[in-house]
Protein backbone atom coordinates (compact mmCIF):
# COMPACT_ATOMS: atom_id res chain seq x y z
CA UNK A 1 0.00 0.00 0.00
CA UNK A 2 2.74 2.49 0.95
CA UNK A 3 4.74 1.70 -2.17
CA UNK A 4 1.66 2.36 -4.31
CA UNK A 5 0.96 5.56 -2.37
CA UNK A 6 4.48 6.87 -3.03
CA UNK A 7 4.21 5.97 -6.70
CA UNK A 8 0.88 7.78 -7.14
CA UNK A 9 1.95 10.80 -5.07
CA UNK A 10 5.16 11.11 -7.10
CA UNK A 11 3.20 10.91 -10.33
CA UNK A 12 0.64 13.54 -9.24
CA UNK A 13 3.35 15.93 -8.03
CA UNK A 14 5.32 15.48 -11.24
CA UNK A 15 2.16 16.32 -13.21
CA UNK A 16 1.66 19.47 -11.13
CA UNK A 17 5.27 20.54 -11.59
CA UNK A 18 5.05 20.02 -15.35
CA UNK A 19 1.59 21.55 -15.84
CA UNK A 20 2.29 24.48 -13.46
CA UNK A 21 -1.41 24.66 -12.62
CA UNK A 22 -0.61 24.92 -8.90
CA UNK A 23 1.92 27.71 -9.34
CA UNK A 24 0.24 29.63 -12.17
CA UNK A 25 -3.40 29.28 -11.16
CA UNK A 26 -4.06 27.94 -7.65
CA UNK A 27 -1.46 30.06 -5.84
CA UNK A 28 -2.40 33.33 -7.59
CA UNK A 29 -6.06 32.56 -6.89
CA UNK A 30 -5.35 32.10 -3.17
CA UNK A 31 -3.33 35.34 -3.01
CA UNK A 32 -6.11 37.12 -4.86
CA UNK A 33 -8.62 35.97 -2.24
CA UNK A 34 -6.37 37.41 0.49
CA UNK A 35 -6.08 40.70 -1.39
CA UNK A 36 -9.85 40.91 -1.92
CA UNK A 37 -10.42 40.36 1.80
CA UNK A 38 -7.95 43.19 2.44
CA UNK A 39 -9.83 45.46 0.03
CA UNK A 40 -13.15 44.63 1.67
CA UNK A 41 -11.93 45.25 5.24
CA UNK A 42 -9.23 47.82 4.58
CA UNK A 43 -10.80 50.80 6.38
CA UNK A 44 -10.18 49.11 9.71
CA UNK A 45 -6.81 47.36 9.79
CA UNK A 46 -7.58 46.06 13.27
CA UNK A 47 -10.41 43.94 11.88
CA UNK A 48 -8.05 42.42 9.34
CA UNK A 49 -5.55 41.47 12.01
CA UNK A 50 -8.21 39.98 14.28
CA UNK A 51 -9.85 38.07 11.42
CA UNK A 52 -6.55 37.03 9.80
CA UNK A 53 -6.71 33.40 10.96
CA UNK A 54 -10.25 32.88 9.64
CA UNK A 55 -9.53 34.64 6.35
CA UNK A 56 -6.34 32.59 5.93
CA UNK A 57 -8.20 29.31 6.36
CA UNK A 58 -11.07 30.38 4.07
CA UNK A 59 -8.46 31.12 1.39
CA UNK A 60 -6.87 27.70 2.01
CA UNK A 61 -10.26 25.99 1.83
CA UNK A 62 -11.16 27.60 -1.49
CA UNK A 63 -7.74 26.72 -2.89
CA UNK A 64 -8.11 23.15 -1.62
CA UNK A 65 -11.25 22.85 -3.74
CA UNK A 66 -9.22 23.70 -6.83
CA UNK A 67 -6.41 21.31 -5.89
CA UNK A 68 -8.79 18.42 -5.23
CA UNK A 69 -10.73 19.14 -8.40
CA UNK A 70 -7.48 19.10 -10.33
CA UNK A 71 -6.34 15.81 -8.75
CA UNK A 72 -9.56 14.15 -9.90
CA UNK A 73 -9.51 15.69 -13.36
CA UNK A 74 -6.20 14.06 -14.29
CA UNK A 75 -7.77 10.66 -13.57
CA UNK A 76 -10.98 11.24 -15.48
CA UNK A 77 -9.43 12.25 -18.81
CA UNK A 78 -8.31 9.86 -21.54
CA UNK A 79 -9.18 6.65 -19.75
CA UNK A 80 -6.52 6.96 -17.07
CA UNK A 81 -9.05 6.09 -14.37
CA UNK A 82 -9.71 2.74 -16.03
CA UNK A 83 -5.98 2.22 -16.48
CA UNK A 84 -5.41 2.88 -12.77
CA UNK A 85 -7.97 0.22 -11.90
CA UNK A 86 -6.40 -2.16 -14.41
CA UNK A 87 -2.90 -1.56 -13.07
CA UNK A 88 -3.73 -3.51 -9.95
CA UNK A 89 -2.60 -0.71 -7.63
CA UNK A 90 -4.03 -0.97 -4.14
CA UNK A 91 -7.00 1.48 -3.98
CA UNK A 92 -5.95 2.44 -0.45
CA UNK A 93 -2.50 3.27 -1.82
CA UNK A 94 -4.04 5.35 -4.62
CA UNK A 95 -6.11 7.25 -2.04
CA UNK A 96 -3.13 7.90 0.21
CA UNK A 97 -0.97 8.91 -2.75
CA UNK A 98 -3.49 11.35 -4.16
CA UNK A 99 -4.26 12.82 -0.74
CA UNK A 100 -0.53 13.02 0.02
CA UNK A 101 0.13 14.98 -3.16
CA UNK A 102 -2.66 17.42 -2.24
CA UNK A 103 -1.14 17.78 1.26
CA UNK A 104 2.25 18.73 -0.20
CA UNK A 105 0.68 21.30 -2.53
CA UNK A 106 -1.50 22.82 0.20
CA UNK A 107 1.35 23.06 2.71
CA UNK A 108 3.44 24.93 0.15
CA UNK A 109 0.47 27.17 -0.55
CA UNK A 110 -0.09 27.81 3.17
CA UNK A 111 3.52 28.92 3.51
CA UNK A 112 2.95 31.43 0.73
CA UNK A 113 -0.36 32.58 2.20
CA UNK A 114 1.26 32.90 5.63
CA UNK A 115 3.70 35.42 4.20
CA UNK A 116 0.78 37.17 2.52
CA UNK A 117 -1.14 37.42 5.80
CA UNK A 118 1.89 38.91 7.58
CA UNK A 119 2.47 41.45 4.82
CA UNK A 120 -1.12 42.37 3.95
CA UNK A 121 -2.87 42.01 7.29
CA UNK A 122 -0.09 43.14 9.58
CA UNK A 123 -0.16 39.98 11.68
CA UNK A 124 2.71 39.55 14.12
CA UNK A 125 3.66 35.87 13.74
CA UNK A 126 4.05 33.94 16.98
CA UNK A 127 3.45 30.43 18.27
CA UNK A 128 5.21 28.80 15.33
CA UNK A 129 5.00 25.28 16.71
CA UNK A 130 1.24 25.49 17.19
CA UNK A 131 0.75 27.09 13.79
CA UNK A 132 2.80 24.38 12.11
CA UNK A 133 0.97 21.57 13.92
CA UNK A 134 -2.37 23.19 13.04
CA UNK A 135 -1.37 23.50 9.40
CA UNK A 136 -0.30 19.85 9.17
CA UNK A 137 -3.36 18.41 10.93
CA UNK A 138 -5.86 20.66 9.13
CA UNK A 139 -4.26 20.06 5.75
CA UNK A 140 -4.31 16.30 6.20
CA UNK A 141 -7.99 16.47 7.07
CA UNK A 142 -8.79 18.73 4.12
CA UNK A 143 -6.83 16.59 1.68
CA UNK A 144 -8.30 13.30 2.92
CA UNK A 145 -11.88 14.57 2.89
CA UNK A 146 -11.33 16.31 -0.44
CA UNK A 147 -9.88 13.24 -2.11
CA UNK A 148 -12.70 11.08 -0.79
CA UNK A 149 -15.49 13.44 -1.86
CA UNK A 150 -13.67 14.06 -5.13
CA UNK A 151 -13.89 10.34 -5.89
CA UNK A 152 -17.54 10.35 -4.85
CA UNK A 153 -18.31 13.24 -7.22
CA UNK A 154 -16.13 11.88 -10.03
CA UNK A 155 -18.83 9.51 -11.26
CA UNK A 156 -21.25 12.38 -11.76
CA UNK A 157 -21.60 14.45 -14.92
CA UNK A 158 -21.87 17.56 -12.74
CA UNK A 159 -18.80 16.79 -10.65
CA UNK A 160 -17.34 20.32 -10.89
CA UNK A 161 -20.36 21.86 -9.17
CA UNK A 162 -21.17 18.88 -6.98
CA UNK A 163 -17.79 18.73 -5.22
CA UNK A 164 -18.06 22.08 -3.39
CA UNK A 165 -21.58 21.23 -2.26
CA UNK A 166 -20.35 17.93 -0.80
CA UNK A 167 -17.02 19.07 0.55
CA UNK A 168 -17.60 22.49 2.11
CA UNK A 169 -20.16 21.39 4.73
CA UNK A 170 -18.06 18.32 5.53
CA UNK A 171 -14.91 20.31 6.23
CA UNK A 172 -16.61 23.07 8.23
CA UNK A 173 -15.20 21.55 11.45
CA UNK A 174 -11.69 21.89 10.00
CA UNK A 175 -12.29 25.55 9.20
CA UNK A 176 -13.57 26.24 12.71
CA UNK A 177 -10.92 24.27 14.57
CA UNK A 178 -8.02 25.47 12.43
CA UNK A 179 -9.14 29.09 12.81
CA UNK A 180 -9.47 28.80 16.59
CA UNK A 181 -6.13 27.01 16.97
CA UNK A 182 -4.42 29.64 14.80
CA UNK A 183 -6.07 32.45 16.75
CA UNK A 184 -4.90 30.90 20.01
CA UNK A 185 -1.34 30.69 18.64
CA UNK A 186 -1.41 34.28 17.36
CA UNK A 187 -3.20 35.62 20.44
CA UNK A 188 -5.97 37.20 18.35
CA UNK A 189 -8.86 34.97 19.41
CA UNK A 190 -11.78 35.94 21.59
CA UNK A 191 -12.45 32.45 22.93
CA UNK A 192 -10.51 31.27 25.92
CA UNK A 193 -9.92 27.73 24.73
CA UNK A 194 -6.47 26.18 24.58
CA UNK A 195 -5.13 25.51 21.11
CA UNK A 196 -4.46 21.92 22.17
CA UNK A 197 -8.18 21.15 22.22
CA UNK A 198 -8.63 22.43 18.69
CA UNK A 199 -5.53 20.57 17.55
CA UNK A 200 -6.96 17.39 19.03
CA UNK A 201 -10.20 17.95 17.10
CA UNK A 202 -8.24 18.52 13.88
CA UNK A 203 -6.22 15.35 14.46
CA UNK A 204 -9.33 13.26 15.09
CA UNK A 205 -10.93 14.65 11.92
CA UNK A 206 -7.82 13.82 9.89
CA UNK A 207 -7.52 10.30 11.30
CA UNK A 208 -11.22 9.57 10.72
CA UNK A 209 -11.17 10.76 7.11
CA UNK A 210 -7.88 9.02 6.29
CA UNK A 211 -9.25 5.76 7.74
CA UNK A 212 -12.56 6.21 5.95
CA UNK A 213 -10.78 6.97 2.69
CA UNK A 214 -8.54 3.92 2.93
CA UNK A 215 -11.63 1.73 3.30
CA UNK A 216 -14.05 3.47 0.95
CA UNK A 217 -11.86 4.63 -1.94
CA UNK A 218 -11.80 1.21 -3.66
CA UNK A 219 -15.58 0.84 -3.88
CA UNK A 220 -15.88 4.47 -5.00
CA UNK A 221 -13.37 3.87 -7.82
CA UNK A 222 -15.36 0.87 -8.97
CA UNK A 223 -18.53 2.96 -9.14
CA UNK A 224 -17.03 5.55 -11.51
Amino acid sequence: MWRDALLVAGKDLRIEVRSRVATNQVAPFALLVLVLFAFALDPDRGVLTRAAAGLFWVAVLLSALLAVQRAQTVESAEGTGDALRLSGLDPAGIFLGKAGAVVVQLLALELLLGVGVVVLYGVDPSGWATLAATAVAATMGLAAAGTLYGALAAGSRVRETLLPLLLLPAVAPVLIAATRASEAALGTGGLDVASGDWLALLSVFAVVYVAFGVVAFGPLMEEQ
Partner: protein, 233 residues
Protein backbone atom coordinates in the same frame (compact mmCIF):
# COMPACT_ATOMS: atom_id res chain seq x y z
CA UNK B 1 -4.69 -26.74 -23.98
CA UNK B 2 -5.48 -24.29 -21.15
CA UNK B 3 -8.44 -21.99 -21.60
CA UNK B 4 -7.58 -18.38 -20.88
CA UNK B 5 -11.20 -17.21 -21.19
CA UNK B 6 -14.23 -19.26 -20.28
CA UNK B 7 -17.62 -17.52 -20.30
CA UNK B 8 -20.90 -19.34 -19.91
CA UNK B 9 -24.18 -17.40 -20.18
CA UNK B 10 -22.30 -14.33 -18.98
CA UNK B 11 -24.43 -11.27 -18.36
CA UNK B 12 -23.18 -7.68 -17.93
CA UNK B 13 -25.38 -4.69 -17.25
CA UNK B 14 -24.67 -1.08 -18.17
CA UNK B 15 -27.14 0.59 -15.87
CA UNK B 16 -30.22 -1.54 -16.43
CA UNK B 17 -29.34 -2.37 -20.03
CA UNK B 18 -27.96 -5.89 -20.62
CA UNK B 19 -24.90 -5.06 -22.73
CA UNK B 20 -23.98 -8.75 -22.63
CA UNK B 21 -27.06 -10.93 -22.48
CA UNK B 22 -25.76 -14.45 -21.98
CA UNK B 23 -22.44 -14.80 -23.77
CA UNK B 24 -20.73 -18.16 -24.21
CA UNK B 25 -17.07 -17.97 -25.18
CA UNK B 26 -13.98 -20.11 -24.76
CA UNK B 27 -10.55 -18.80 -25.77
CA UNK B 28 -7.61 -21.21 -25.52
CA UNK B 29 -4.13 -20.05 -24.60
CA UNK B 30 -2.14 -18.61 -27.49
CA UNK B 31 -5.15 -17.90 -29.67
CA UNK B 32 -5.83 -14.63 -31.49
CA UNK B 33 -9.58 -14.15 -31.47
CA UNK B 34 -11.29 -11.56 -33.61
CA UNK B 35 -14.57 -10.22 -32.22
CA UNK B 36 -16.79 -8.75 -34.89
CA UNK B 37 -20.05 -6.90 -34.61
CA UNK B 38 -21.89 -3.70 -35.41
CA UNK B 39 -21.61 -0.56 -33.29
CA UNK B 40 -23.26 -1.12 -29.92
CA UNK B 41 -23.27 -4.89 -30.31
CA UNK B 42 -21.32 -5.39 -27.08
CA UNK B 43 -17.72 -5.82 -28.30
CA UNK B 44 -16.24 -3.16 -26.03
CA UNK B 45 -18.28 -4.36 -23.06
CA UNK B 46 -17.04 -7.89 -23.69
CA UNK B 47 -13.41 -6.72 -23.64
CA UNK B 48 -13.97 -4.60 -20.53
CA UNK B 49 -15.66 -7.51 -18.80
CA UNK B 50 -12.70 -9.76 -19.63
CA UNK B 51 -10.42 -7.11 -18.14
CA UNK B 52 -12.42 -7.13 -14.92
CA UNK B 53 -13.61 -3.55 -15.38
CA UNK B 54 -17.29 -4.34 -15.94
CA UNK B 55 -18.94 -6.66 -13.42
CA UNK B 56 -20.36 -9.94 -14.67
CA UNK B 57 -23.68 -10.23 -12.86
CA UNK B 58 -24.96 -13.51 -14.28
CA UNK B 59 -23.64 -16.80 -15.61
CA UNK B 60 -20.06 -17.95 -15.21
CA UNK B 61 -16.90 -16.05 -16.10
CA UNK B 62 -13.31 -17.14 -15.68
CA UNK B 63 -10.26 -15.34 -17.07
CA UNK B 64 -6.76 -16.71 -16.52
CA UNK B 65 -8.23 -18.96 -13.86
CA UNK B 66 -9.77 -16.06 -11.91
CA UNK B 67 -13.47 -16.14 -11.19
CA UNK B 68 -14.68 -12.71 -12.28
CA UNK B 69 -17.93 -13.02 -10.37
CA UNK B 70 -16.08 -13.60 -7.11
CA UNK B 71 -13.12 -11.21 -7.47
CA UNK B 72 -12.69 -9.36 -10.75
CA UNK B 73 -9.76 -7.31 -9.40
CA UNK B 74 -7.58 -10.40 -9.22
CA UNK B 75 -7.16 -10.66 -12.97
CA UNK B 76 -6.47 -7.01 -13.76
CA UNK B 77 -2.72 -6.98 -13.36
CA UNK B 78 -2.43 -9.93 -15.74
CA UNK B 79 -4.40 -8.42 -18.63
CA UNK B 80 -3.66 -5.44 -20.85
CA UNK B 81 -6.46 -3.42 -22.41
CA UNK B 82 -5.98 -1.07 -25.34
CA UNK B 83 -9.20 0.92 -25.28
CA UNK B 84 -10.51 3.77 -27.38
CA UNK B 85 -8.45 6.27 -25.38
CA UNK B 86 -4.72 6.03 -24.86
CA UNK B 87 -4.76 6.29 -21.03
CA UNK B 88 -1.79 8.67 -20.95
CA UNK B 89 -1.20 11.57 -18.60
CA UNK B 90 -0.98 14.59 -20.89
CA UNK B 91 1.57 16.48 -18.78
CA UNK B 92 3.97 13.54 -18.50
CA UNK B 93 6.36 12.54 -21.25
CA UNK B 94 6.08 9.26 -23.12
CA UNK B 95 8.94 7.85 -21.03
CA UNK B 96 7.33 9.07 -17.78
CA UNK B 97 4.03 7.46 -18.72
CA UNK B 98 5.70 4.16 -19.54
CA UNK B 99 7.72 4.22 -16.34
CA UNK B 100 4.65 4.94 -14.20
CA UNK B 101 2.37 2.32 -15.75
CA UNK B 102 5.01 -0.41 -15.75
CA UNK B 103 5.85 0.27 -12.09
CA UNK B 104 2.15 0.37 -11.22
CA UNK B 105 1.65 -3.01 -12.84
CA UNK B 106 4.78 -4.34 -11.11
CA UNK B 107 6.17 -5.58 -14.40
CA UNK B 108 8.87 -8.09 -13.52
CA UNK B 109 11.45 -6.99 -16.09
CA UNK B 110 10.21 -3.85 -17.78
CA UNK B 111 12.33 -3.02 -20.80
CA UNK B 112 11.10 0.52 -21.30
CA UNK B 113 13.72 1.50 -23.83
CA UNK B 114 13.02 -1.66 -25.80
CA UNK B 115 9.26 -1.06 -25.69
CA UNK B 116 9.66 2.51 -26.96
CA UNK B 117 12.09 1.46 -29.67
CA UNK B 118 9.74 -1.29 -30.80
CA UNK B 119 6.92 1.23 -31.30
CA UNK B 120 9.14 3.88 -32.86
CA UNK B 121 8.99 6.15 -29.82
CA UNK B 122 12.66 6.23 -28.92
CA UNK B 123 14.84 9.30 -29.38
CA UNK B 124 13.20 12.72 -29.32
CA UNK B 125 9.64 11.40 -28.91
CA UNK B 126 10.45 9.75 -25.57
CA UNK B 127 10.80 13.15 -23.94
CA UNK B 128 7.74 14.74 -25.51
CA UNK B 129 4.69 15.36 -23.26
CA UNK B 130 1.78 13.14 -24.24
CA UNK B 131 -0.39 16.20 -24.88
CA UNK B 132 1.81 17.12 -27.85
CA UNK B 133 1.61 13.73 -29.54
CA UNK B 134 -0.50 13.04 -32.60
CA UNK B 135 -3.36 10.54 -32.36
CA UNK B 136 -1.21 7.85 -33.96
CA UNK B 137 1.72 8.53 -31.63
CA UNK B 138 -0.61 8.33 -28.63
CA UNK B 139 -1.83 4.98 -29.91
CA UNK B 140 1.76 3.79 -30.26
CA UNK B 141 2.51 4.99 -26.74
CA UNK B 142 -0.47 3.07 -25.39
CA UNK B 143 0.81 -0.03 -27.17
CA UNK B 144 4.29 0.56 -25.75
CA UNK B 145 2.75 0.54 -22.27
CA UNK B 146 1.27 -2.88 -23.03
CA UNK B 147 4.62 -4.12 -24.32
CA UNK B 148 6.35 -2.93 -21.15
CA UNK B 149 3.67 -4.53 -18.98
CA UNK B 150 3.81 -7.79 -20.95
CA UNK B 151 0.36 -9.10 -19.98
CA UNK B 152 -0.79 -12.67 -20.43
CA UNK B 153 -4.03 -11.60 -22.12
CA UNK B 154 -4.09 -8.72 -24.59
CA UNK B 155 -7.46 -7.07 -25.14
CA UNK B 156 -7.34 -4.75 -28.14
CA UNK B 157 -10.33 -2.56 -28.98
CA UNK B 158 -10.06 -1.22 -32.53
CA UNK B 159 -6.26 -1.45 -32.34
CA UNK B 160 -5.62 -0.25 -35.90
CA UNK B 161 -7.64 2.95 -35.48
CA UNK B 162 -5.51 6.08 -35.77
CA UNK B 163 -2.36 4.26 -36.87
CA UNK B 164 -0.61 4.92 -40.14
CA UNK B 165 0.44 2.10 -42.47
CA UNK B 166 3.78 1.64 -40.75
CA UNK B 167 2.13 1.64 -37.33
CA UNK B 168 -0.35 -0.97 -38.46
CA UNK B 169 2.45 -3.20 -39.64
CA UNK B 170 4.23 -2.76 -36.30
CA UNK B 171 1.03 -3.64 -34.47
CA UNK B 172 0.45 -6.74 -36.58
CA UNK B 173 4.03 -7.92 -36.01
CA UNK B 174 3.60 -7.28 -32.30
CA UNK B 175 0.43 -9.36 -32.09
CA UNK B 176 2.10 -12.23 -33.94
CA UNK B 177 5.15 -12.08 -31.67
CA UNK B 178 3.25 -12.01 -28.39
CA UNK B 179 1.04 -14.91 -29.39
CA UNK B 180 4.09 -16.83 -30.52
CA UNK B 181 5.53 -16.16 -27.07
CA UNK B 182 2.45 -17.69 -25.44
CA UNK B 183 0.19 -14.71 -24.81
CA UNK B 184 -3.46 -14.68 -25.86
CA UNK B 185 -5.06 -11.86 -27.86
CA UNK B 186 -8.70 -10.88 -28.16
CA UNK B 187 -9.28 -8.01 -30.57
CA UNK B 188 -12.42 -6.20 -31.62
CA UNK B 189 -12.25 -4.48 -34.95
CA UNK B 190 -14.25 -3.13 -37.84
CA UNK B 191 -11.20 -3.32 -40.08
CA UNK B 192 -11.83 -6.91 -40.97
CA UNK B 193 -9.23 -7.38 -43.67
CA UNK B 194 -6.41 -6.37 -41.38
CA UNK B 195 -7.72 -7.97 -38.19
CA UNK B 196 -8.76 -11.22 -39.83
CA UNK B 197 -5.27 -11.70 -41.20
CA UNK B 198 -4.07 -11.78 -37.59
CA UNK B 199 -6.84 -13.90 -36.14
CA UNK B 200 -6.91 -17.64 -35.79
CA UNK B 201 -10.67 -17.57 -35.17
CA UNK B 202 -13.49 -15.06 -35.20
CA UNK B 203 -16.78 -14.66 -33.39
CA UNK B 204 -19.63 -12.25 -33.98
CA UNK B 205 -21.49 -10.35 -31.30
CA UNK B 206 -24.95 -8.92 -31.92
CA UNK B 207 -27.33 -7.56 -29.33
CA UNK B 208 -25.07 -8.69 -26.52
CA UNK B 209 -24.99 -12.31 -27.66
CA UNK B 210 -22.72 -14.52 -29.73
CA UNK B 211 -24.48 -15.18 -33.00
CA UNK B 212 -21.92 -17.59 -34.35
CA UNK B 213 -18.63 -19.07 -33.24
CA UNK B 214 -15.68 -20.30 -35.22
CA UNK B 215 -16.39 -18.50 -38.46
CA UNK B 216 -13.80 -19.25 -41.06
CA UNK B 217 -11.26 -16.43 -40.94
CA UNK B 218 -10.35 -17.00 -44.56
CA UNK B 219 -13.92 -16.11 -45.50
CA UNK B 220 -13.41 -12.70 -43.95
CA UNK B 221 -10.12 -12.09 -45.69
CA UNK B 222 -11.09 -13.43 -49.09
CA UNK B 223 -14.88 -13.20 -48.91
CA UNK B 224 -17.18 -16.23 -48.99
CA UNK B 225 -16.45 -18.61 -51.81
CA UNK B 226 -18.67 -18.07 -54.82
CA UNK B 227 -19.95 -20.83 -57.13
CA UNK B 228 -18.08 -21.08 -60.37
CA UNK B 229 -19.86 -19.15 -63.12
CA UNK B 230 -21.61 -21.36 -65.65
CA UNK B 231 -20.87 -20.48 -69.23
CA UNK B 232 -23.56 -21.33 -71.72
CA UNK B 233 -22.42 -21.81 -75.24
Amino acid sequence: MDDVVRLRSAVCLLGRFPALAGVDLVVPKGETLLVRGANGAGKTTLLRALAGLVPVVGGEAQVLGCDLRRDRRAVRRRVGLLGHSAALYDDLTVADNLRFWSRAARSPTPDLAGAMARLGLDGRLAGVPAARLSAGQRRRSALAVLVARSPELWLLDEPHAGLDAAGRDVLDDLVRQVTAAGATVVLASHELDRAAALATRSVTVAGGRMVDDGACVSDIVEGPSQPEPVHVA
